[in-house]
Point group: C2
Chain length 329, copies 2
Amino acid sequence: MKVVVTGGTGFLGQRLVRALCERGTLTDSAGRERSIERIVAVDQGECIEPFADSRVTYALGDISDAAFVGAAVADDTDSLFHLAAVVSGAAERDFDLGMRVNLDGTRLLLEACRRGKPVPKVVFASSVAVFGQPLPAVVTDATTPTPQTSYGTQKLASELLVNDFSRKGFVDGRSVRLPTIVVRPGKPNAAASSFASGIIREPLAGEESICPVEPSTGVWMSSPGTAVAAFIHAHEVPKELWATVRSLNLPGITATVAEMIDALRAAAGDAVAGRVRFQIDEPIAAIVRSWPARFDTARATWMGFPQDADFASILRDYMKHYAPALLRK
Amino acid sequence: MKVVVTGGTGFLGQRLVRALCERGTLTDSAGRERSIERIVAVDQGECIEPFADSRVTYALGDISDAAFVGAAVADDTDSLFHLAAVVSGAAERDFDLGMRVNLDGTRLLLEACRRGKPVPKVVFASSVAVFGQPLPAVVTDATTPTPQTSYGTQKLASELLVNDFSRKGFVDGRSVRLPTIVVRPGKPNAAASSFASGIIREPLAGEESICPVEPSTGVWMSSPGTAVAAFIHAHEVPKELWATVRSLNLPGITATVAEMIDALRAAAGDAVAGRVRFQIDEPIAAIVRSWPARFDTARATWMGFPQDADFASILRDYMKHYAPALLRK
């Protein structure tokens, strides 16, 4: 089978591609377990560290370009994992770019999948940014999304398309709303949530990190590994369990910025934790405040989605890979 | 001020244009009451009965054509009432047509409004078709829309755009979710709800009417007059009352098909009521069953939106205009 991963050379996309290579099989929309013969990583550039697997090829281009999308998906795609997006802060600054990539791009991918036989499975990486104030203290599966960012609006509108394309039998779609992914390695990005990784990553690398939100700010989080496992689980769950509601809030954990820094102090010491400095950036803080921090994800738990234990375990997992010398125990 | 009404030569659009002519003024987005100097009726064809008002002009074309929309709205539109749509049954049969007109058309109109100074007000005619099963017995302002039709999907995605364009300050938008409008004069249309007018209109005109849904089917309804008053009220309500949630379930009344025919019998006699024949059309019945029949519209009531008294009064109002000789008292 042929699998397409958009955003395939991004941080999560690369991890997903590697996980698919290791796994070797997926269940197609007809319910048959099939071996993965090709994985096409759709993105704007290649990975710095190349994929060491002959099944993986690149398709480099812009997902808002219909001809490019049509050629990358073609009529032989069995499964599409759609992770590519203009991130929240960037979509807020450049409305037209966000609409073009996040909404039009998703629609072009869905349209391209309409030609596939059997019907392609589609896993869409949505976001808890579909929620915005006013919100209850705890968001449940019944809470109405009322996005207060362009990114959240574009993600929610895309979910609606995934749902209707599925209802019409054009694709077998599943949208999962990701928590903030922590800890991302590498450089800060233009996501409003970038700080949540930065306040851990930079201090561990010996650098100062400027936190643009209040210490009391709650963050709903998932580790990268759990998110990748959730993409694959979303793909494998039988479509009967999705029924008519093809969108789902993924499990996560909640911690405040202060609690995250406390965990960093416990794991790596005062000197490291002391490298976080607060300087409130109101536009960023406003976006982050509009997101919910606490969820009851009963449906996802019932459907068997994986969940992190706590922030300390997420932190230790990151440190083992990226800063083992600093681990205190 | 210049007012644009899309679907302006349709049944509701014509009534809205005439109501605006009578009213003569509207409040612009800066809060000033201004006199209406021009009304542009955007539609695909002229009215059979022409508008007898020199302020009204036509702009005839396709709202999924960017050049046409740009020219009709231009940079001098103060208020847009967007009623044009491919109706539910047609959007279900022709998915691409529905997407093009109902979603792309709305987006083009919103884009065209971005050029306006002061910021144009936009009233968008959405629909209770944004709701679909699973649903509670009574839909409230907190119920999450989960459309199970392409029409409902396109309306909801358009609401999201109206909301985000408003949040960004590009327009001052307000989306109102219309109940089924009963009784529409004229011919049946391709809406799945067309029967709700047909079972009244055709028998009163001496013709048989075939009802495609069960007698027990509940319908959430509004009269045309109340709907037109709601459009104008939605335009006039200060934007502070809309706050961050620019979509609203309009008030209506609930009656089953059997109750509607009983009211017809009471008002016009057995011979008239006997002209309704049941012949279930499963695709239509499935669409209608997926719609909610009972609502608690507390927010709309709090915002002062008008409401019909009961089905008997809607029926008598229609008969007074279209079948006065048949009225029993």
